[in-house]
């Protein structure tokens, strides 16, 4: 039986099988009301002041639970929410089985999953939600289709800037982890995104390009966004060096 007291439930959750210790939380596998369930237990960061750590855990847990519900009703494949205990930092949800999108690159039909990933983000945006951390580690390729998980940094907004940050983050995650196929992967992702967002996507893509150029020392650079830097020393860097 699952105890319902917040204090007890944390210790109960802590006894379930540990699947993964992420940056944000511990993911454990347990049983809830007879169903195989994922327990996501946000850990208070020991490197933060306790007050700050608690504030972050409670706010993110609350928001994530709310977003999961809204996302599903908007047609996004989010895991089904079973229960939530904000002060304990615990969310109990449906167990989704399968490889992460990041580990699926290169396997059969991987491009179509990137397209689907874009479409799901589009549906989320269309419902007035931004994800906040849409990397290839946050999509699961499951038998039941592609799932978008981890809504810990999500927010309710239709702001072009926030939507653009999502695209920017996905693009950068793809460039960082899948440098060889980044261009293909992102193209498929954008196709899917556009298939849902239609003309609204133009402004978001445009803003995402701007964000990529905004950092402190950023210059227009070759990337999957296209565009080449105009700088006095553009060729100089390649030099005449031979690489042994």
């Amino acid at each position: 039986m699952v105890p319902l007291d917040p204090g007890e439930i944390v210790s109960w959750a802590g006894r379930q099988t540990l699947l993964k210790r992420g940056a944000e939380s511990e993911i454990r596998l347990g049983t809830f009301m007879g169903l195989k369930a994922i327990l996501k237990l946000r850990v208070k960061k020991p490197y933060m002041h306790p007050t700050l750590a608690e504030r972050i855990v409670s706010a993110r847990t609350r928001r994530e639970a709310k977003v999961m519900v809204e996302a599903r009703s908007a047609g996004v494949n989010a895991p089904l929410l079973y229960a939530v205990f904000p002060s304990a930092g615990l969310i109990i949800m449906e167990y989704v089985e399968g490889p992460l999108l990041k580990d699926y690159v290169g396997r059969e039909g991987w491009r179509s999953f990137f397209r689907e990933a874009g479409a799901q983000l589009g549906r989320l945006h269309a419902a007035g939600i931004v994800h906040g951390d849409p990397t290839t580690s946050n999509y699961i390729v499951s038998k039941g289709g592609l799932y978008l998980i981890d809504y810990g940094l999500s927010a309710f907004t239709r702001d072009v800037e926030e939507r653009a940050v999502d695209l920017h983050l996905f693009r950068r995650a793809v460039e960082a982890t899948h440098a060889g196929v980044a261009s293909d992967a992102f193209k498929a992702f954008i196709e899917g995104y556009r298939s849902v967002m239609g003309g609204e996507a133009d402004a978001v893509e445009e803003r995402a390009r701007e964000i990529a150029l905004r950092g402190r020392y950023v210059e227009a650079r070759r990337s999957v966004w296209g565009g080449v830097g105009e700088d006095e020393g553009e060729q100089a860097i390649h030099g005449n060096g031979e690489q042994a």
Binding site: R55, L169, G215, R216, I237, A244
Partner: protein, 339 residues
């Protein structure tokens, strides 16, 4: 044995380092820092200062190493990123040395050099790196030939946040006294404020401008300055450590380092250490002697690049004020002097 002389002049420090690929590796480390009497740094004044000291810093370094310029195998120079007028002084000196003494010239990216000197001093082969300085806040990790940016600030840098706050509330300049930043000094008696200062992490990126504005607002409202300093620092440091943690989790790497001008900070180091332990990763910050801008880091990186044949025609060695770390190929990786 290969010996490289490296020149740094991207911001407030004109530095010359001489490094060889055999022990004791670092043969010379000479520098002069431009310190403004009040306010921030003006690029033109820095350039003027640099052009006055450049000659003596180069000779001082050669003297320290007990070498003549003829004994040096190559000249390395930081061509960017940084302030144009300051960069031009270093580039001009480097081009002149290379052309006059017929030495190969090696282009070095300043940001890459901060990571390389961290790898050099820590012995960590393939770490996730948090690079925090006056003008930089970036989390990078090597992937497919380059340092890839996993997270960065969307607006101002961490060092810039601390400096600006200190200046605006009147506790700086000087920004650093006895190795301690004015904000750290002020935070010593402080306590965490319940009034929420914004904690802004978007995915793997951070944003500090809202935090700066909110902290200045609390100051105007009359909150105790030590409490604001403590809370500001607590939130800002927690943000960068959290994005570093995300990068560690995303890449699955087992090593973490901290580099750049803010890397000597004790409070930040403590947080990084706790975070790394949480993930069973090894944590080692850059040797504090090389955390701030210096010529050694340019020489170390230049040496690694030179041994892989990376050189540049001096007549085409232009500066690049905004040269991104992820534009630079690293054919030597993970090799570094001492490995």
């Amino acid at each position: 044995m290969t010996v490289v002389l490296g020149i740094e002049s991207t911001a407030h420090t004109f530095g010359v380092g001489i490094v060889s690929d055999e022990p004791p590796y670092v043969l010379a480390d000479s520098r002069r820092q431009y310190v403004p009497e009040k306010g921030g740094i003006l690029p033109r004044e820095v350039a003027h200062f640099f052009s006055r000291v450049a000659g003596e810093v180069v000779s001082e370094a050669l003297r320290e190493a007990g070498l003549k310029i003829g004994d040096v195998d190559a000249i390395a120079v930081a061509l960017g990123p940084g302030m144009g007028p300051a960069l031009r002084v270093g580039a001009t000196v480097a081009r002149a040395l290379a052309l006059h003494f017929k030495k190969p010239l090696v282009p070095v990216n300043h940001a890459v050099a901060h990571i390389e000197v961290a790898r050099f001093t820590t012995g960590l082969e393939d770490p996730v790196a948090l690079y925090v300085a006056g003008g930089n806040t970036t989390v990078v990790s090597y992937e497919a030939g380059r340092y890839r940016v996993f997270g960065e600030t969307e607006d101002i840098a961490l060092g810039n946040l601390l400096d600006t706050f200190a200046r605006e509330v009147g506790i700086a300049p000087p920004y650093v006294v006895g190795g301690m930043h004015a904000v750290d000094k002020c935070a010593e008696e402080g306590e965490f404020l319940e009034e929420a200062l914004p904690y802004i992490v978007k995915g793997q990126d951070v944003s500090f401008s809202g935090l700066l504005t909110a902290a200045l607002r609390l100051h105007r409202k009359g909150y105790r300055l030590s409490d604001i300093c403590y809370t500001l620092r607590e939130i800002a440091f927690s943000m960068v450590v959290e994005v570093t943690e995300r990068c560690l989790a995303h890449t699955g790497k087992r090593q973490v380092t901290l580099t750049g001008g803010v890397a000597a900070n004790r409070v930040l180091n403590r947080k990084m250490e706790i975070m790394a332990r949480l993930h069973g990763a090894v944590y080692k910050p850059v040797d504090v002697r090389y955390s701030g801008d210096n010529g050694v880091m340019i020489a170390v990186t230049g040496l690694a690049a030179f041994k892989r044949g990376v050189t540049i025609d001096p007549r085409r060695a232009f500066i690049r004020q905004r040269w991104r770390i992820d534009e630079v190929d690293l054919p030597w990786y993970p090799w570094i002097p001492g490995r």
